[in-house]
């Protein structure tokens, strides 16, 4: 039965589409840049060596303070709570809290900041009149606007340079407070400060050092991480369609009731189907992992860790395939509708967009999609290996629980119970005796 299910999946349209999409994504997003990522940097490269985020307080502190002050004055803060632009307007009491933070950073009294903001708001409400333009006075007389009327009054400009005695630790603490007041995922989150305010171009020496570090920490493992990051995105989403397709197929071809009456146990039927679905998707992932390993060999030679893409496919990508398949099966068996696609699709989308701010390393908070979109940052991987393992084990256990739930629901349906309908159906079909 297992091989029959595998064969059915192998020749199905959704499976062929999944294979094409994964292969296309692998080539366009990962494979095409692999050689460049693993090559020795050359001196005087006209394309440059990219940029990097330097955690340099001398660079970050003034730039972040300027930005916070500008947003405070405009009464409008930019944040990316789900990876998408969000314009936040704070209440007056929260504006006062930001003013207090700015005051702690610069030493300028809080009242001065509030006065500057009030002045800014008043001036933005006033119409701008160009010098030399004709205007009408209150008494109705027309006049030409003189030059000095259009110049900004700079007498009240604040000195917002950072206090010299302010430590970087305290500065980060204040920035985290500001981020919390704004609502999170703003430019001022301490972990994002370097990314927003500390980016500088790399030079040749830095690029060479980075390359040597990469080779020392293992090109195989670095490449496997990047492979898992890219392939994991789609390998987590796509199985939901396959699982829903297979579960709905019986219903569409009117086979559900026939299967209910068969001798096969619900455990066996659901278990075999689940295993077949996961295995068939993983088959494509393993082929791509093999191409990755061969590519590393052709670029770097017989280095240690050539098996890493396979290990990562199992430990990193497979739990994503498992949870997607399990959600697809349980919701489709339960509702008899493709609702699982909407539920899981939204979960996947929110996880993807929420993680956009930390794509170079994010394994925490039970995130559905693990991110490590760089060959570098090996330290993050080593330091957070426990979190990564915990995350993946959680999804394996959750998948098993959902499969058990699917078996239970299927068994109940076989017994004629557990009918779930989205719309209330008519139940008064019985022919009533004539009165």
């Amino acid at each position: 039965m297992f091989f029959k299910e595998c064969k059915k999946i192998l020749f199905s349209l959704p499976y062929i589409l999944i294979a094409i999409i994964l292969v296309a994504f692998f080539y366009t997003q990962f494979y095409s840049g692999l050689k460049e990522d693993l090559s020795v940097p050359q001196p005087n490269d006209p394309a440059g060596y990219g940029i990097y985020a330097e955690n340099d307080p001398a660079l970050i502190m003034p730039a972040a303070t300027d930005s916070l002050f500008a947003e405070f004055l405009s009464h409008s803060y930019i944040a990316y709570p789900q990876g998408f632009y969000k314009n936040i307007t704070l209440s007056d009491s929260k504006q006062a809290q930001i003013a207090e933070i700015l005051s702690e950073i610069t030493g300028v009294p809080k009242e001065d900041f509030l006065a500057a903001e009030k002045k800014e708001r008043t001036s933005s409400d006033t119409a701008v009149i160009d010098a030399g333009a004709e205007a009408e006075a209150e008494n109705g007389d027309r006049y030409i606007v003189p030059e000095n009327l259009t110049e900004a009054d700079n007498s009240g400009t604040l000195d917002i340079s950072v206090r010299e005695d302010l430590s970087y630790e305290k500065f980060m603490e204040l920035m985290d407070q500001a981020d919390e007041i704004i609502g999170g995922e703003s430019y001022y989150k301490s972990t994002s400060l370097a990314n927003h305010f500390g980016q500088i171009p790399k030079d040749y020496e830095q690029a060479l050092e980075e390359y040597e570090t990469l080779m020392e920490s293992g090109a195989g493992i670095a490449s496997a991480r990047l492979f898992s990051d890219y392939i994991g995105i789609f390998a987590t989403l796509l199985p939901i369609f396959l699982a829903v397709w297979l579960a709905l197929k019986d219903r569409i071809s009117m086979m559900s009731e026939l299967i209910y009456t068969r001798q096969i146990s619900s455990w066996k039927l659901i278990g075999v189907r689940y295993l077949a679905l996961v295995l068939m998707v993983m088959l494509v992932v393993f082929v791509l992992a093999g191409i990755n390993a061969v590519s590393i060999y052709s670029i770097c030679g017989a280095i240690d860790g050539l098996y890493m893409p396979f290990l990562f496919a199992l430990g990193w990508i497979m739990p994503g395939v498992m949870i997607s398949t399990a959600v697809g099966m349980v919701l489709t068996v339960l509702t008899g509708t493709p609702a699982a696609i909407a539920v899981f699709g939204i979960w996947w989308f929110l996880s993807l967009t929420k993680g956009i701010g930390n794509i170079s390393g994010n394994y925490g908070n039970l995130t559905l999609l693990l991110r490590h979109n760089t060959m570098q940052n090996a330290a993050y991987f080593t330091e957070n290996l426990g979190a990564l393992a915990g995350n993946r084990i959680f999804y394996i256990i959750l998948s098993i629980v959902l499969v058990l739930l699917t078996v239970y629901v299927f068994e109940q349906k076989r017994r004629g119970r557990f009918y779930v309908s989205i719309i209330k159906r008519r139940t008064d079909y019985q022919i009533k005796p004539e009165e």
């Binding site: 589409l17 789900q82 796509l238 493709p338």
Partner: protein, 210 residues
């Protein structure tokens, strides 16, 4: 007169028995949008964010499952035996879904306008064009494959590829208004109509060849 009454009856039945859960999902989508995006005080370019990236998904929700009822068991055969032409029923369903998408978009645009955002006719038409294109893509995929799961898969993948590929998709780039470009929108609307027409005939041939 009786033709009009039949049409009203078909639309009512379609709304009640087919589109209702999908309409609820569309309302949920609209309710979810402000939780993810800012919708207040946005200029025309920023306002395109929630409209193109999220509200346009109403097309997938309302158009893709349009011919789902016929895919289930013997319903298709029962429908085929009816006196009223199935082609007419299919067209009325498409028209209803199309109007509902337009209403959902205009409702959300109205809310954004109320919240002080800049809403233009181009933005409304552009969002509708993206929604119709995505939905028609799903319709065609569902009709060709005979399975609704594939119907959802194709537009969702195309939508995700738009984030990865960006303007490389040329005239069929879904999020062009976010980059101040409107020229893609007539192509998307035209493409959507072509795909929907193709879906229409694939479904018709499928029904006839039973």
């Amino acid at each position: 007169m009786s033709a009009l009454l039949n049409a009203v009856q078909i639309i009512k039945s379609n709304l009640k028995n087919n589109l209702f859960p999908h309409l609820m999902l569309t309302l949920l989508l609209l309710l979810l949008t402000p939780a993810i995006f800012s919708i207040s005080n946005l200029n025309a370019r920023a306002a395109a964010g929630p409209m193109e990236a999220f509200v346009a998904l109403s097309g997938v929700l309302l158009l893709t499952p349009l011919y789902y009822p016929e895919q289930k068991g013997t319903i298709g055969e029962t429908v085929e035996a009816k006196y009223i032409s199935h082609l007419q029923v299919m067209f009325l369903r498409f028209l209803t879904a199309w109007i509902l998408i337009a209403l959902a978009i205009m409702l959300f645009a109205g809310i954004m306008l109320y919240c002080g955002s800049s809403i233009t006719g181009k933005l409304i038409f552009g969002t509708l064009a993206s929604a119709v294109f995505l939905g028609a893509l799903g319709m065609l995929a569902a009709c060709v494959s005979g399975n609704i799961a594939v119907g959802y898969m194709i537009p969702v993948i195309y939508y995700v590829f738009n984030f990865a590929m960006g303007s490389k998709l040329g005239n069929f780039y879904l999020f062009s208004l976010m980059h101040d470009s409107f020229s893609e929108k007539p192509w998307l609307m035209g493409g959507g109509i072509v795909l929907a027409t193709a879906a229409f005939f694939v479904q018709y041939i499928r029904m006839k060849s039973r």
